[in-house]
């Protein structure tokens, strides 16, 4: 019977091509609007490291001045001071830990054909690689001894290795940044991060880091961070005074492998701050935070309000499209009262009539879904054109394709249910009279 009903449905849809097109386009547009916005929102906020996002915690300490909080709502600063970062690194109370900051340095290629260029990288510690797990193509990260020894080593991103060495295994060779030579210990494979979640202080969709160098080495070279720097009182004159100041400019992450370790670390931090209070620092009440990756992403509004509003509107639009389709299907099915009456009089059960019309709405749903999927693709291209920085999140993945199709069919069947139910309540007798 299914094939026959399908045939009937298709024939009936062909009879009113304009009405059919209207319904399909309506569903498709609703689906496209809601799925485009949902995809962007979903990918923006999606967990970047699901297997350990609850173990990685972002350290926040409230070292701000007594007179005014760092933010109006009382959240602690989003970065830490050099003093506190080094104290926490030396204490090494977490399972793994790394402080880091963004640097921009001139690169002087050995190859004279390649002109010197500015490249953005990251000063960090050996644990970075074990904590955030970037994939290596050649070699490996540096080790803790090299951190302690302020070694001149570097890990290149795949793009920079491509630019400088044509993608070959460059480990053991050296690269010159701002007049100093660094030995390459590792080269990353393509590290596809949707959001650069390990540093949200300069935007979640910023360009990826092109290289990684030891934090300790950068401090030796008096390398200033290229990210944000905030001070609640003037740092004084000179590099040493700056390192000793209450200016925050460093991001600090710890890996804590169990809830018990998290509680221990929290206690350790509170204890640390209380000790610092005795030295006259940390004038504000205790306000330490250890948010995990996902909490930190919510806190930093990785999914912007605009995107949330757009998604809400996308779904409201889908509701309007569905209401529209219900109305049109109702109109269409009620014109068929005569046909239904005839089928019922000839012995078809309500169930059969229900099936027949549900298949017809299902056809509209699937067509709308397929067209909607195509339009979603177009929508995502438009999002990319409008928001240059969203190129990593405006893409369709398999889950979203499946969700789109399911949403389309469910929407169309929901929209078709009431008209279909009405259609099979037709009394054969009233329809057969002339």
């Amino acid at each position: 019977m299914f094939a026959y009903y399908l045939q009937l449905g298709l024939r009936s849809l062909k009879r009113n091509p304009i009405l059919t097109a209207l319904m399909i386009v309506g569903i498709a547009m609703g689906i496209a609007a809601s799925m485009t916005t949902l995809t962007v929102m979903h990918l923006m906020g999606s967990d970047p490291i699901p297997w350990k996002s609850d173990k990685l915690h972002y350290v926040q300490l409230d070292n701000w001045g007594a007179d005014a909080p760092y933010t109006e709502d009382g959240r602690p600063p989003d970065q830490v001071t050099y003093r506190d970062a080094t104290a926490l690194m030396t204490a090494a109370k977490a399972d793994k830990q790394t402080a880091m900051f963004k640097v921009v340095k001139p690169v002087q290629p050995e190859n004279r054909e390649v002109k010197p260029f500015q490249a953005q990288g990251r000063a960090t510690f050996a644990d970075f690689f074990a904590m955030f797990e970037p994939p290596f193509r050649y070699g490996h990260g540096w080790n803790r001894d090299q951190d302690a020894g302020h070694a001149r080593v570097i890990v290149l991103g795949s793009e920079m290795n491509e630019k400088l060495f044509g993608g070959q295994d460059s480990t053991g060779r050296s690269v010159r940044l701002d007049g100093a030579d660094y030995t390459i210990v590792g080269v990353l494979a393509d590290w596809k991060l949707r959001t650069r979640y390990y540093d949200l202080t300069v935007g979640a969709f910023a360009e990826p880091d092109e290289y990684f160098v030891p934090f300790t080495t950068m401090i030796d070279l008096k390398q200033r961070a290229s990210g944000n720097n905030s001070c609640w009182r003037a740092p004084g004159t000179g590099w040493d005074a700056y390192l000793d100041s209450d200016c925050v400019w460093i991001q600090m992450w710890v890996q804590l492998d169990s809830p018990a370790r998290l509680a221990e670390y929290h206690a350790f931090l509170d204890n640390y701050v209380n000790e610092q209070k005795k030295l006259g620092r940390f004038p504000r009440p205790l306000n330490n935070r250890l948010l995990d990756v996902n909490q930190w992403m919510v806190d930093q509004r990785v999914v912007s309000r605009d995107v949330q509003v757009q998604t809400g509107l996308g779904f409201a639009f889908l509701v309007v499209c569905l209401v529209n389709t219900i109305g049109l299907l109702l109109a269409k099915f009620s014109r068929k009262a005569g046909e239904i009456g005839l089928r019922r009089a000839l012995g078809a059960s309500r169930r059969e009539v229900f099936k027949q019309f549900l298949i017809e709405s299902g056809v509209i749903g699937i067509s709308g879904g397929v067209l909607g999927l195509v339009l979603t693709g177009v929508g995502l291209l438009a999002v990319r054109a409008l928001y240059a920085e969203y190129k990593t999140v405006a893409t369709l993945d398999l889950t979203m394709v499946a969700t789109t199709l399911v949403l389309a069919v469910v929407s169309a069947i929901l929209a078709g249910l009431y008209p279909t139910w009405r259609a099979c309540r037709v009394q054969p007798a009233t329809q057969l009279k002339l």
């Binding site: 639009f317 109109a331 409008l386």
Partner: protein
């Protein structure tokens, strides 16, 4: 009038009526709020930066290696830039409005004040700063070359003389006598004297709550070995000047790295890219919603006309004119739309309240809803016109035919 027969006819197809009404209601609620958001964004994008945006561009130069002296290189570059034909003026600067990155600090009226009197952006420029930015001095005087200090990282920057925007002057000295007054950019002093006031210069941050509070200070402040230059070309010569500047700077020191030139127009476009995108997306949603709703009304009305062909024929046979039939369908649509609009008006305010609480959005101004009423009434009347005209052409003879 025919309202009673229309109402009793509508009561017989309640569901269809409710569906159209609901669609109109949702459309009104969404369109009003979306239009308001668009209006807000356009207003935001329309704010002047205070700079000459049409003729100005920025370029950064980074030197490296031993033997690079940023101070002399900066002086040589500035002299070179100012000598080029077509360049009106140039300065070194850390930032420009709308670029979203820069320096901010607090300003106090007294030393060691616990809370700052105002927040301000800090523009560090040389004596050509005002001219290169193209900002307008309204009171006092410009910087003199001998006032310009040279500072590097890790040195305290405490300018002795500053030029502030009118908004900041007003905030610090509401009586309007800011010129010549002393203020504190560093709690421990020394004081800075306000020597001039400019009409307007936005801070670099488009979202800041002190966007009109800026301070210009005469300080050359390279960022490590990097310096940014702001160059203003003579009117209409920007693009030719850019080419010359890129070439001459590279020739002057072949081993440095020059950033890509960004015109202030590009800086503005990038700064407001998200607002522009939001406005375009919401515009597209509004267009699609109105189209879907209009097509829905056309579809439903066509169906009603077809369903009532015989009744129309009967009415015509009993003496109703074509105009009566037309008016019947127009009036019917007007009634349904009006019911939907009343519900939609409530929904629009409810949606606005929700946006206010969830996203700290401002309240929807009341006049959006009545304007939305007018638009949707018009849309409904136009949408139903086609089917209604078709109905009015049904010949009376139809009444006599069976099926």
């Amino acid at each position: 009038m025919e309202i009673r027969p229309i109402l009793s006819a509508l009561m017989r197809s309640k569901v269809s009526m409710i569906l159209i009404g609901l669609q109109v209601a949702l459309t009104l609620a969404i369109v009003c709020n979306a239009l308001f958001i668009i209006h807000e964004r356009l207003q935001r994008m329309d704010r002047p930066s205070g700079m000459n945006e049409a003729d100005t561009f920025i370029i950064s130069s980074t030197g490296f290696g031993q033997g690079f002296d940023v101070k002399s290189s900066q002086q040589a570059d500035l002299a070179l830039l100012r000598s080029l034909p077509g360049v009106a003026d140039a300065t070194s600067a850390i930032t420009v409005p709308m670029s979203q990155s820069g320096w901010s600090t607090g300003v106090s009226l007294k030393p060691n004040q616990t809370t700052d009197t105002a927040s301000t952006a800090l523009y560090l420029v040389d004596a050509h700063g005002l001219s290169a930015y193209g900002v307008q001095l309204v009171e006092g005087r410009d910087f003199k070359p001998e006032e310009v200090q040279f500072k590097t990282f890790n040195e305290r920057v405490v300018p002795t003389s500053v030029i502030v925007t009118r908004a900041l002057a007003q905030r610090l000295f509401p009586d309007g006598d800011a010129l010549g007054k002393q203020v504190y950019y560093d709690n421990e002093g020394p004081a800075s004297t306000i020597i001039g006031i400019v009409e307007r210069l936005q801070t670099p941050w488009l979202d800041s709550d002190f966007i009109d509070n800026s301070t210009l200070a005469p300080v050359l402040f390279p960022y490590g070995n990097a310096t940014r230059y702001v160059v203003r070309a003579e009117p209409g010569r920007r693009d030719e000047v850019i080419k010359v500047v890129e070439q001459k700077l590279q020739e002057a020191n072949p081993s440095r790295i020059l950033s890509k030139v960004r015109t202030l127009e590009q800086v503005r476009a990038e700064g407001y890219a998200n607002d522009r995108a939001m406005a375009i997306i919401l515009g597209a949603v509004i267009f699609a919603l109105l189209a879907i709703t209009a097509l829905g009304i056309v579809g439903m009305a066509s169906f009603w006309v077809a369903q009532r062909t015989r009744q129309i024929g009967t009415r015509r046979a009993l003496g109703a004119t074509r105009f009566d039939i037309l008016r019947y369908f127009q009036l019917e649509n007007f009634i349904i739309t009006s019911i939907g609009l009343v519900v939609g008006g409530v929904l629009a305010y409810a949606l606005s309240l929700w946006l206010m609480s969830a996203f700290q959005a401002p309240r929807l101004p009341w006049h959006y809803v009545p304007v939305g009423f007018l638009c949707l009434w018009t849309l409904g009347q136009l949408a139903v016109l086609g089917p209604a005209l078709r109905a009015s052409r049904v010949p009376p003879a139809v009444a006599t035919r069976s099926v």
